[in-house]
Amino acid sequence: MIDDPGLETFAFLAALTDPALWWAIARATLYLVVGVVLSRMVRFGLKRTLTHLEPGQRMLLARVAGYTVLGLFVISAMRQFGFDFTVLLGAAGIVSLAVGFASQTSASNLISGLFLVLERAVQPGDIVTVGGRTGEVISVDLMSTKLRTFDNLLVRIPNETMVKSEIVALNRFPIRRFDLSVGVAYDSDLGVVQKTLLEVASRNPLCLDEPAPLLISQGFGDSSIDYLLAVWAKSEQWLTLRNTITREVKEAFDAAGIEIPFPQRTLQPGATPLAVQLLAPAAPPADAGADAPKGAVAPKGAVAPKGAGATDDAGGGRAGPGARPA
């Protein structure tokens, strides 16, 4: 140990004038320059040659290879100054453990990102539904995947979530099916219904002729006889087909007199039928002739549930054909 600052300075200057140091610096610089050049050549060469891979995969592999080459040359350059990497490697295990605990989430996302890119699960331009959100994939980065939703929001989904989630790609294949559920009234002529539905599909130019439209009877529903009309369209035209064919089915049903019923409920009072009783006409009050409209007298025999009383609070104005005496 040199305690004298003067001697320390002298030793430093003596080291600087040592030709061996300059020779080491020159070799290290040479290693670095060659490393940078080789790294770039490897990246460029891989990008040009791996044309059969997706752009994301190509870029990832080129980067990994380039940084590996550069790292090896950096290590070689540092060895010129006497760095002993065996010590570093020994400590690497402990450091890795510490870093691993500290960056568990990031590492998980990073590895998930690698799998996403290599698996080609999603690609930029895909329309996907992930975790209930639908949007266009903007990019698949190492840490996260970014979606642009149709209301123009940016959604950043961690790659770990992407790997764990169910991903539905809506436009991966060139054609797509649209299923239209429709119910018709029980008194409809089912032959006419089926013919009408298939004619609508046949007339719509966006509806593919092949694969042929599919008409499936889904059985007797609560209020209607239900059908499923499954039609195909080019993926880009799917939304247009969905909108047009729904309108066309409604128009065709209207033209053919086919009813699409509302939900209906038939009320049953139980084992005994609902009792009715005929009411005697209420005696008009003495001054009723001045207030009530002409003919607005309580109908004879208007029915009312038992115990409903015999009052005529509407002045008889609601009496209609159904309220005639039996």
């Binding site: 294949f173 060139p174 054609i175 046949s202 007339r203 719509n204 130019p205 966006l206 509806c207 593919l208 002729d209 092949e210 694969p211 195909w232 369209a233 080019k234 035209q237």
Partner: protein, 305 residues
């Protein structure tokens, strides 16, 4: 039906000055036989309207000072028989949004309508089942709707010289066929147009439909079992369009051979009608060779689909 002079209906662009308005022939008298040619060119002054009809399709073009606008209406009947060449009409332009609109500093005065074949292959489905007997060779005549290609002639100055260059305004179908998918699966294939046909076997039986082009499809069954024809894909972009003396539109022929081993070979057979006029070149200038044939390897869909 009349045989019009060969140069009467060929699409050409008038080059007259703006002041001289040249019209194509006037409208036909109601009792005159149908002139099946619906194409041609017409010169229109600013503010004028041109109209033409092809089968179920009626189109109007309106020339304004800075743009041309086109309206297009298609009747539901795909087999409507009508033909009317482009001509100036004294009627206001139709209401509603135009199907096409193109702007110019100064609009060219001549609009030309030419027939064109569909831009995608057409998958033809015979209305009634047809089988080709073993070791037989049969020619089916199938018709497909044509497209109306609208062109404007724009004069440009290039290297000090005035040149005329046609600008495609738009293409309109005379009837819009339904889309269909033609491929091995729902993941691989090609989008085509779907057309139903009577698949007539005698050319004499063919009705004259001015807006449809007839393709002779020869099917040769070299197999030992009957070959049911359910669908035929006609590679329209590779075919040229012709006009025969009767005014019927024809395309090049297609030869499909079902070989003894079950494979299907496809060939485009140039088949200009006798004394026919070539109206349009194939859209795809590549030769319909082996590479493309692979795409169409399932061109003929029979029982071995």
């Amino acid at each position: 039906m009349t045989d019009a002079p060969s140069d009467a209906g060929g699409p050409h662009l008038e080059r007259d000055d703006e002041a001289t308005v040249v019209e194509t022939p006037p409208a036909q008298a109601p009792d005159a036989p149908l002139d099946p040619r619906w194409w041609g060119a017409v010169t229109i002054a600013v503010g004028g309207v041109a109209r033409w009809r092809a089968g179920p399709s009626t189109a109007h073009a309106h020339r304004r000072a800075a743009d041309w606008r086109v309206w297009h209406v298609i009747e539901p009947d795909p087999y409507a028989v009508a033909a009317e060449r482009p001509r100036r009409v004294e009627e206001p332009p139709p209401d509603g949004a135009a199907a096409a609109r193109i702007g110019f500093a100064e609009t060219p005065n001549t609009i030309a309508v030419t027939p064109a074949l569909p831009d995608r292959p057409v998958v033809v489905r015979p209305e009634s089942a047809l089988e080709i007997a073993p070791h037989e060779r049969v020619t089916l005549y199938v018709s497909s709707p044509t497209w109306m290609a609208l062109k404007l002639e724009v004069r440009r100055t290039r290297r000090g010289r005035q040149e005329a260059a046609p600008v495609v305004l738009t293409e309109l179908p005379t009837f819009r066929p339904s889309d269909t998918w033609f491929g091995a699966s729902t993941r691989e294939g090609e989008l085509c147009y779907a057309v139903r046909t009577a698949a007539r076997l005698e050319p004499a039986d063919l009705p004259l439909r001015p807006h449809r082009a007839v393709t002779p499809v020869t099917v040769e069954n070299q197999g030992t079992t009957p070959l049911p024809i359910t669908r035929i894909a006609v590679p329209m972009p590779f075919l040229a369009l012709y006009l025969d003396r009767q005014g019927r539109l024809w395309t090049d022929g297609v030869l499909l051979t079902r070989q003894a081993d079950g494979d299907t070979a496809v060939k485009v057979a140039p088949a200009a009608p006798a004394d026919g006029e070539r109206l349009a070149e194939p859209r795809d200038s590549r030769t319909f060779g082996q590479t493309i044939t692979r795409t169409f390897s399932r061109l003929l869909r029979g029982d071995h689909r």
